[in-house]
Each structure stands twice: as C-alpha cells, then as structure tokens.
C-alpha cells in the first residue's frame, strides 16, 4: 500500500513540475494525461481487492434470522453462479417480477435466503454497518466479471420499458440549477475542470462509464457501488436524494448498460 501511495505522490509531482513552462491548454491536457498515467500505475494493484476479499468471506457467512449464507443466491445465471453474473445486470427477474440491478438483487437474496431486513440499508450511511457489508459483497461479485463483456438481455418487454424510462430520467432537468444527467454527459469530448466527461448517450461513453463502475476512488479511499455513484451524481445535480435501489436508479442503469452493451467490463474500476 505504501508503494502505491508513493506512486501517487510521484504522479502528482509530475503534474506540478510540468506546470512551469507550457501554455494553459497544453497544460490542461498534460495534467489529464498525468492522471491517466497514475491510474495505469495503480491498475495492477487495485485496493478494491481488499474489499472484495471481505465480500468473498461474507458471502459464505451464515447470517440473518434464517442463519443462512448467500451461496445459493441467484444473480441471474442460476443459484450460486457469480462468474460473469454482474456483466449481465440489470436483468428482468421472473421470481420478483422486477428489473433489478446488482444491489437490489443482493437485497432480494439477503431477504429471502437469510431473512435480513434490507430496509435498514436505506437509513445507513455509505461505508457503515449493513451498507459496508453490501459494498464488500458488490466488490466481490463485480471482480468476478472483470474481463467479461457488458451483456444485458434487452429482449424482455420489461427491460425495453425500463430503458425508455431511464432515457427520460437521463434527460430530465430539474433542481435549483436546471441540471439533468445530459447537462454534463450529453455531448462528446467535454470536461468539468480537468475531469473528462463520457458522453453516456453513445456506446463508447456508456461502455467506458458503465464498464468501470463500481470502483475504488483514490481521492477519498472509498469503494463506491453503482448506487453510490448515481446517488452522488444526483447530489451534484442539486436534486433531492434518490432512494437506495429505487426504480430511477435501476432505469438509469439499464439505459447506461444497454448503451454500453458489448463493451468491456473492467470492474472494480479505479477512479480519481
């Protein structure tokens, strides 16, 4: 871990050093390049591995009123199949009659197999208590899809409808600043400050965005699930809070995943 910190400091130093001689626009590009470089340096040792290891243990721990493990959880590829499962989420599940993302599906498994009351999650802060456990489980599951391709099944009518609802949500403007998702992610080749913004309407941008979350965030040392990512987007959009696992988060997930279909899954990602 210390080695990674040193690499980060080095990369930050390179950014600072380069600032002395170049023109502003060249500088901005160079700073972006340096961030990309330090991301590469860290990529072979993603700190998410620690979180995923906790999740793998937790998967096999008997918990809840039913004192059961999650080993029979069906994430869409059959009970207990984890390999490649999150690459195919969100998915329409016949047993619940709902389109579910990874987190809401894990909630179903916790409720039905273990008898855990998942309503608590909605009152729990990120990184704390039951939410910390959810994050570990997510890290474990998405690591098992790393290297797969985004492959969401858009044939069911329920998925098609969720896509349309997600698209509407993507362009929905509101709040004190009149922002929608599209305000920042609805054009090619834009950035906020130095942060590049993927155009999430298109395959390339959606694949890059959807395919690299959930992720470990170097800036705050936290592992963020997709629900957490979308929650913080809405915070910055100056919206009220999207409820954990609510349909708007799933609809947006379907919109992003379907737009990115066929792209590489590089989860857990590594972010600024």
């Amino acid at each position: 871990m210390r080695n990674r910190t040193a690499q980060f400091v080095m990369a930050a130093g390179m950014i600072a050093l380069n600032v002395t001689t170049w023109s502003p626009s060249a500088l901005a590009d160079a700073a972006t390049d340096e961030i990309a470089k330090y991301r590469e340096m860290l990529a072979d040792g993603n700190p998410s591995e620690l979180v995923a290891a906790q999740g793998e243990e937790l998967w096999k721990v008997k918990r809840g009123t039913k004192n059961a493990t999650l080993e029979q959880c069906d994430l869409g590829l059959g009970p207990g199949v984890i390999k490649g499962a999150s690459a195919q989420l969100p998915r329409y599940f016949k047993d619940t009659g709902r389109v579910q993302d990874l987190e809401t599906r894990l909630m179903t498994c916790m409720e039905t197999l273990q008898g855990i009351d998942t309503k608590e999650l909605n009152k729990t802060k990120w990184g704390k208590g039951e939410m910390e456990k959810m994050e570990a489980l997510v890290a474990y599951v998405v690591t098992e899809s790393n290297g797969h391709k985004i492959n969401v099944d858009m044939r069911p009518a329920q998925m098609k409808k969720m896509y349309e609802l997600g698209k509407m949500a993507f362009f929905y403007r509101g709040g004190a600043m009149d922002f929608s998702c599209a305000t920042c992610h609805g054009q090619p080749d834009k950035r906020i400050r130095l942060q590049d913004l993927p155009d999430l309407r298109e395959h390339k941008g959606a694949a890059a965005g959807w395919g690299s979350w959930p992720a470990y965030r170097v800036s705050n040392g936290q592992f963020w699930t997709m629900q957490h990512r979308l929650n913080d987007c809405y915070r910055q959009q100056r919206f009220p809070e999207p409820i954990y696992g609510s349909d708007v988060t799933i609809a947006l997930s379907v919109y992003l995943a379907a737009n990115g279909n066929g792209g590489p899954v590089l989860t857990p990602g590594l972010k600024r």
Partner: protein, 201 residues
C-alpha cells in the same frame, strides 16, 4: 404565475416526443415521484419541473417557437442593479468563479454559494483547471469592450441564461437565487476589469 400559464399553453399544443405515449409518461412521473426524498437543504419538491425545464428535457431542443416563448418569459425575470452599478471587486469575483460549492444536500445553507464558472468556462490566463461545456471567456472584457449594451447583456446572461437560449446548460444564477446581486457584480468585475487576470496576462 402568468409566465407558467403562457408556456404551458404553448406546450399543450406542441407535440413532444414523450407525449406520443401518455401511459409511459404517466409511469415515468410515478417512478420519479417514488424514487426521491428530501435530504438536508434539498426538499423533494425540487425535482418537480418548471415548464421550461420540462420543455428542455429531451436530447433535442424543442421547436423554435417554444424556445422563443421561453426566452421571452425568462427575459422578464432579469433584475438589473437598482443603483446602476454593475461592477464589484474582481478579486472576489475570481473566488466566486472558482468555487463550485453550494445547493447540494451536503451544504449547510442555501446561501454563500459559488458560481461554479470554472466548471464549464475558461476565464483567466492563469487557471488551467477549466471545463469546456461552456465557451471560453478568456479576455472577455478586452475583446468585447464595455459598452452599455455589452455590460447589460452580460449581466442578463449571468442572471438568467435561459433568456438568451431557452435550453442553455447554464444555471439561472440570479433568477434561481444561486448568487446574490453583489456576487454577480464581483463576477462582472472579474470579466471586465482591465486588471483582472481574465484580461491581463
């Protein structure tokens, strides 16, 4: 209130993409309503749309007629400084332009917000961390001069950008009470003052 009614009347006769499927749109509204909750200083009602927000919620802009109607209504919201003084202190303007803080559910108060200008615009000769969603405003005053017309237009654009482009991505800093009149005066100085790093190398 009158503003809302006028735009609503225009929207009612304008075929929009989602209007083709009323049932789907009803489901969408129900979904949105069930999916959000108040948090901190952001009340749930903030997710309900103003008429122009609704008109600007598709991949493409609405028709020219709708755009013009919105712009005419939004133009009426602009309040010019009562004392006729448009310029504050560019140094304070720079701080406001740099800060992107404010109006999220993590913020303690709805006041003391940043302008977030650098999120989207290049402004000074020195700041390299600028966004590109908006146009570059480098040498804004130097290139445009400071005629009454330019000054008044710029004030209006900061106050309510939707008066000039109905579906502009830029927030309505004055109309939506994001910034105070004094803060906007500081931003004006940052854009126009010959000694501001926006104009001076």
């Amino acid at each position: 209130m009158k503003k809302m009614i006028t735009i609503a009347a225009i929207l009612a006769v304008t075929p929009l993409a989602w209007a083709a499927d009323d049932a789907l749109y009803a489901d969408f509204k129900a979904m949105m309503d069930a999916s959000f909750r108040s948090k901190g200083i952001v009340d749930k009602y903030r997710m309900y749309q103003l008429d122009f927000q609704k008109a600007c919620s598709q991949d493409k802009d609405p028709s020219a007629k709708v755009m013009q109607a919105i712009e005419a209504e939004q133009l009426k919201t602009i309040r010019y400084p009562a004392d006729g003084q448009y310029f504050g202190d560019w140094k304070q303007g720079e701080k406001i332009a740099t800060s992107g803080k404010g109006l999220t559910w993590k913020d303690k108060t709805p006041h003391n917000n940043g302008g977030g200008c650098y999120n989207c615009h290049q402004l000074s000769h020195h700041e390299i961390a600028y966004g590109t969603i908006g146009t570059s405003l480098l040498e804004y005053g130097k290139q445009r001069g400071n005629s009454d017309e330019v000054v008044k237009y710029t004030w209006g654009k900061i106050y309510n950008a939707k008066a000039f482009n109905a579906c502009s991505r830029m927030p309505r800093n004055g109309d939506a009470e994001i910034l105070t009149e004094q803060q906007m005066k500081h931003l004006m100085a940052y854009l126009f003052d010959p000694n501001s790093p926006v104009n001076k190398k």
